[in-house]
Symmetry: C2
Subunit: 340 residues, 2 copies
């Protein structure tokens, strides 16, 4: 690598081509009304100097930047899936993507992190932003699409159908013959946590199984939050025969706690998660879970944002995407050990 002196600016090109920066700008942006000769001269100077317009200066001056932003609190493996979907939707659209992560706010639940990130980008750098799993409601001067919004959010958003997903998970357990099914809930401010609990309750109600409130633990989606809850559920003499956790991270923690307590999965206890993160397939036994396509969430969020920015969006502004149940080794009919 050559660590070259100063970056080449538009003034450098103008000087080299013997024209004004206004003319260079016109050539760079393909505006009409520049003579063929001048265009050729400017092009050659650009080529020779290796000029590329500064994203920052362009963004500051222009109202439309053709850059969309994405702000996230963390980079989990699902983030990569979201990003793949976003880029797929953006490819060939003329919109570039900027992802911004503040190293101090990273991985914290710090109040309003998403609002701070948004403020720094919107209006100048980006034409609009995707916000992944925000802490609260967001405000912005440019369009925003939220992936996994907070409960009651009115912002344009894309969410997995968490209620139906949770219902299918619990129906799977009911179908296997389970009746005492524990539940470990997620962070209650999130729409997704709420809906997953709703799905749990509905599935039980539909099967005529009364909800036992002592079988419900309140976690926050963090694996660690599930450990004491799982321990409490498994220490009871009348422990549940199955546990449904509102996230794979928490479900995997349940698997670990069960192992520590000598409770065998799935023989003594069936476990179901939600998300289908890669680790769930590696788990021993493989974790039965509800798959939500993060790729699809990213794809649809980007598609919506793009159209919102250009003013072409026609559809509903709160999208619900389907989920699917993935059955692996962590679930089996209750009492398997006794029968064996």
């Amino acid at each position: 690598m050559a660590e070259v002196g100063a970056p080449v600016t538009m003034s450098d090109v103008a000087r080299a081509a013997g024209v004004s920066t206004a003319t260079v700008s016109r050539v760079v942006n393909g505006r009409y009304g520049v003579s063929a000769d001048t265009v050729a001269q400017v092009r050659s100077a650009i080529e020779r100097l290796g000029y590329e317009s500064s994203l920052v200066a362009t963004s500051l001056r222009r109202s439309r930047t053709n850059v969309l932003g994405l702000v996230t609190r963390t980079f989990q493996s699902y983030t990569a899936e979201v990003l793949k979907g976003v880029m797929k939707a953006l490819s060939g659209s003329g919109f570039d993507l900027i992802i911004y992560a503040n190293s101090d706010l990273y991985e914290t639940y710090a109040e309003g992190w998403e609002q701070r990130h948004l403020n720094r980008l919107s209006g100048t750098l980006t034409d609009g932003c995707i916000v992944v799993t925000p802490w609260g409601e967001v405000r912005s001067s440019t369009p925003v699409v939220v992936i996994d919004p907070v409960r009651g959010s009115t912002a344009p958003s894309v969410t997995a159908d968490n209620r139906v997903g949770a219902t299918s998970a619990v129906e799977h357990l009911l179908g296997l013959g389970h009746r005492r099914i524990g539940f470990i809930a997620g962070r209650s401010s999130l729409e997704s946590a709420w809906s997953r609990e709703e799905g749990y309750r509905e599935a039980l109600a539909a099967a005529g199984v009364p909800v036992d409130p002592t079988l419900i633990g309140r976690g926050d989606f963090n694996p660690e939050s599930a450990a004491p809850l799982a321990r409490a559920l498994l220490d009871r003499p009348d422990r549940p025969t199955a546990i449904f956790a509102a996230s794979d991270g928490m479900a995997l923690k349940v698997l670990q706690v069960a192992k520590e307590l000598g409770v065998s999965v799935p023989d003594d206890l069936s476990v179901v998660g939600f998300d289908n993160i890669p680790e769930s397939a590696f788990a021993e036994p493989g974790l039965t879970t509800v798959d939500q396509s993060m790729y699809r969430l990213g794809y649809e969020a980007a598609r919506m944002l793009k159209s919102l920015v250009t003013g072409e969006w026609e559809g509903q502004r709160q999208m619900l995407l389907p989920t699917s149940l993935v059955v692996r080794g962590s679930t089996t009919p209750p009492g398997a050990a006794a029968r064996a």
Copy 2:
């Protein structure tokens, strides 16, 4: 969400607090020489209006922005690992991270994509950049650290020890008793492809096994490139008993081609990959491969870049990181089928 009118600028704050923008700037940046009263007034106006300085305007004006950039051609699952490592190294450092992806250049091998991205960011938005798997050598007015550079690159870089990794893979096969070991190479401009081939040759040489050039296929790291090469190797009457592919993507393609041709893995053919992507563990059978910690590559690259920017870097500028062999079901002694 409230889609609020215009973003709050420093002028708005200045007006509300009855001071000049210069004073607001001083307060925002914690400069000395502002009276306690004024500070309080400005703070309260900032609070009231929800002001946050524009990343773009700040970057354009300042020489140091405290933002590091990362440019990438693609978002694979390994990208998330790299990003996790980068953020870990950056947390608490005061440096934020911007990832830039051009939707047109995304996932293409287009000549010089990384140079274009770099030019757009450096000098204004970022103090330095990490470049992931570039197409060629890069030049920049600010420090750059390359993850997986091209062959012969003199840029500061972080690379897995590909030669030793490849050697260990081939030694594993030799240890199982294989002597006819095919190799599918990667994109030859990349240092990593070159080193992996070198490791293959060295391991064979050390064991006194002559290299058979007809057993070497030239791919480009893309899974698709491996299909015809695998077919050619497996169609021969004297086909190899094992194939080592320079990437997991290509190795998984070998698995697929073998299945199509009715060649059973590992009984008729052992297969080893390189990278240890998540999909390799899911494969049937699980793929034996060489693990390179992308997390670690990201972490070290960010650590180096940070110090390069602040001028504190002391160590060598080209780092080599260790790899480790992960043995799964795709390798077994040759002739297993015959003996069974």
